[in-house]
Symmetry: C2
Subunit: 77 residues, 2 copies
């Protein structure tokens, strides 16, 4: 079964750097939703419900991995 993976970011330099690094090593058969919370503020509540506290963050089957620290979710509202 394919994994459900979402990468949340906000276009910040830390986000772009993390995205570049992580996308290099992710299994190409894994489909990733890449969500820009600045462009899609309606997704902020969805991200928060998953446990995302800051961006960039990767949600893998419901488990949140915060990757370094770019911006807190609170600062995106």
């Amino acid at each position: 079964m394919s994994k459900s993976v979402t990468f949340y970011h906000a276009g910040c330099p830390v986000c772009l750097s993390a995205e570049h690094s992580i996308l290099q090593i992710i299994d190409p058969t894994v489909s990733i939703d890449i969500v820009h919370l600045g462009d899609s503020p309606d997704q902020i509540a969805v991200a928060e419900a998953s446990g995302v506290k800051s961006v960039p963050a990767l949600v893998i089957d419901g488990q949140v991995l915060h990757l370094n620290f770019g911006a807190s979710i609170a600062d995106l509202k």
Copy 2:
């Protein structure tokens, strides 16, 4: 060319959870060194030289991604 990836951890619950999540989605052709800094304290200096500040952390071709926060490197010394 295969990527050079190292996963640093210290056996902490946050480390094990992050390891479980990230290993699910990493390209199986990528070879990963998994280094337990508690068992291999000689690797702490190597990790620090790569920019690792806390565990768990993933170093991908020299770029550090801190995954959530388990323990700071300083606390492992």
